[in-house]
Amino acid sequence: MNLHEYQARELLRRAGVPVPPGEVATTPAEAKAAAERLGNGKVVVKAQVHAGGRGKAGGVKLADTPDQAADVAGRILGMKIKGLTVEKVLVAPAAQIASEAYVGVIVDRASQSPVMMVSPAGGIDIEEVAAKTPEKIFRLKVDARYGLLPHQAMGLAFKLYSDVALVRQAADVLQKLYRAFVDAGASLAEINPLVVTPKGEVVALDAKVVVDDNELERKPAIEALRDVKAENPFEVQAREASLTYIKLDGNVGCVVNGAGLAMATMDLVKFYGGEPANFLDIGGSSNPEKVVAALRIITADPNVKAILFNIFGGITRCDDVANGIVAATRQFAVKVPIVIRLTGTNEQEAVRILEGVGLKAMTDMDQAVQKAVEVVKGGAAA
């Protein structure tokens, strides 16, 4: 789960990282009032969306006066950045900056550890720094059992600054950032830029935190930060039904058990000349209600011209899936053809249940996928 910048800033502020003041606004009037409360000086107005490249998209603007802040906020609010509508802006004082650095911590797959990263070349996209000037990024593998030790933080901070007063401040930020990362259950936490003000203070100007979805169950305070409005409504609906759904642009709706098989099914649709409309994993031990929810979500996508079920029964029982399909067709009209492949646990019962309502089931994955592709192309009836 991605946090908004203003949420990430608040998380770091509570962890003791120096973060300048800032307020969230949802209307130009609120943005104006926020700029006034921040002292009537120059402010920066920043779009709060789950997308990178906000600056390039025109989602970050400076304003000299509160009236200008209202004007700028009016232009940013409602703007679309990478398909996401901007519902909120962050209003913060425009900082005076003496230097910009990058500091971050990620969970690194290769070393199976948290890795701290710092770079004196902050302020720009860190992936660009990594690609162009990799020698400017310094990494440290952290033993998660002990956390980031003080001398390790100092060692990294010396890569950023030579003045020991700044080094001590930066080391303190690194340790607090690491602690915030662990406490939030994050897979990434970064400050870019970490700046030095003309007064010699080390301050976090921007913050990004991505939380591991698997942590949310035990961290209700973090889950409460979820901004449902900033997400695709069908993906929200799917999550509430314990399904994993990702909308794509094709027209063959897919309902599959298991993520790997779901991806392989989408690939096979493409292989036979079709385009998948979605990724949808109904998971293991699925009950009929999940299948009903899946069909409700897929049939709401106007692009979908056929629905393909691919079920390999293991923990998932084929008869549960069949009962779900039948229940769904009773609850609402499924206007597009359904092609069903199921094999494995309780396959015979499933076939009987489906035949009872005039639906046929196949046992071969390739045949079913080919059939679904033919159906959307208008070649055959399901």
Partner: protein, 289 residues
């Protein structure tokens, strides 16, 4: 022959009285796995299905029964501690089926296991089966038959699909390992390739990969250098969009890395025969046995 589990496996089930644990323990016993103990805190002294003694701790179970392998069916938030407990109790192999284990928990588990010299398979995996000998986990036994193919996969049901295709064509398996779909896992492709290369009964190896990370690329480099047996591969997720988690926590294309195209190219460069469809496994393996 087989890898990691076989005739010598003496299994303790952590979470034996839970819904998933009890269901799958019955299946494992029916398959012929030597399930010697179960663990559920507070239920020590009971017996599961009249045959398997239940203990309060894994340490008690190991001491009383000589269990050498553990399988974990506990809820995700307790899974990391269950792995620590098993490793501390002295088992050599831990198979963690639980799905949804926080990745930071795994960053603490892995250095501990390395120091103890304990192998973990998973988490978030279907487990492992050596057809005819033992199954540890949830892979349906009836879709497997004994034979010469070693199979390793990051997914569950996709593994079943491919194993089933092989079995229907009369091609059996030495061992099928589901290593799991999380970013941090205990056993990776290379560990399995090394074991299959060393296993005299394994004549060909099937590697089922997917988008995200670089494990497949590393596996390809290892195959090129160290594996003398024929290898057949598959990569799921060619139609997956970048930046989106495709169900598995580890299946994310980040930036330009971790794509299916990149992994397929790495496989091909290492001489791995790449399936275009899961059903191609039959022809590609047959031609190489």
């Amino acid at each position: 022959m087989s890898i990691f589990v076989g005739k010598d496996t003496r299994l303790v089930v952590q979470g034996i009285t839970g819904r998933d644990g009890s269901f799958h323990t019955k299946q494992m016993i029916a398959y012929g796995t030597k399930v010697v103990a179960g663990v559920t805190p507070g239920k020590g002294g009971q017996t599961f299905e009249g045959t398997v003694p239940v203990f309060n701790t894994v340490a008690d179970a190991v001491k009383a029964t000589g269990a050498n392998t553990s399988v974990i069916y506990v809820p995700a938030r307790f899974a990391a501690d269950a792995v620590f407990e098993a490793a501390d109790a002295g088992v050599r192999l831990v198979v963690c089926i639980s799905e949804g284990v926080p990745v930071l928990d795994m960053t603490r588990v892995m250095p501990f296991l390395r120091e103890k010299g304990v192998r973990l398979i998973g988490p978030n995996c279907p487990g492992i089966i050596s057809p005819g000998h033992a199954k540890v986990g949830i892979i349906p036994g009836q879709i497997c038959i004994p034979g010469p193919v070693g199979l390793v996969s990051r997914s569950g049901t996709l593994t079943y699909e491919v194993v089933y295709q092989l079995t229907r064509a009369g091609i059996g398996q030495t061992t099928c390992v589901g290593i799991g779909g999380d970013p941090i896992i205990g056993t990776n492709f290379i560990d399995c390739l090394e074991a299959f290369q060393a296993d005299p009964a394994t004549k060909a190896i099937v590697v089922m990969g997917e988008i995200g990370g670089t494990d497949e690329q590393n596996a390809a480099a290892y195959v090129k250098e160290k594996v003398k047996k024929p290898v057949v591969g598959f990569i799921a997720g060619q139609t997956a969009p970048p930046g989106r988690r495709m169900g598995h926590a580890g299946a994310i294309i980040s930036g330009s890395s971790g794509t299916a195209a990149e992994k397929i190219a790495a496989f091909e460069a290492a001489g791995i025969a790449v399936m275009k469809r899961p059903k191609d496994v039959v022809e590609l393996v047959k031609a190489r046995l």
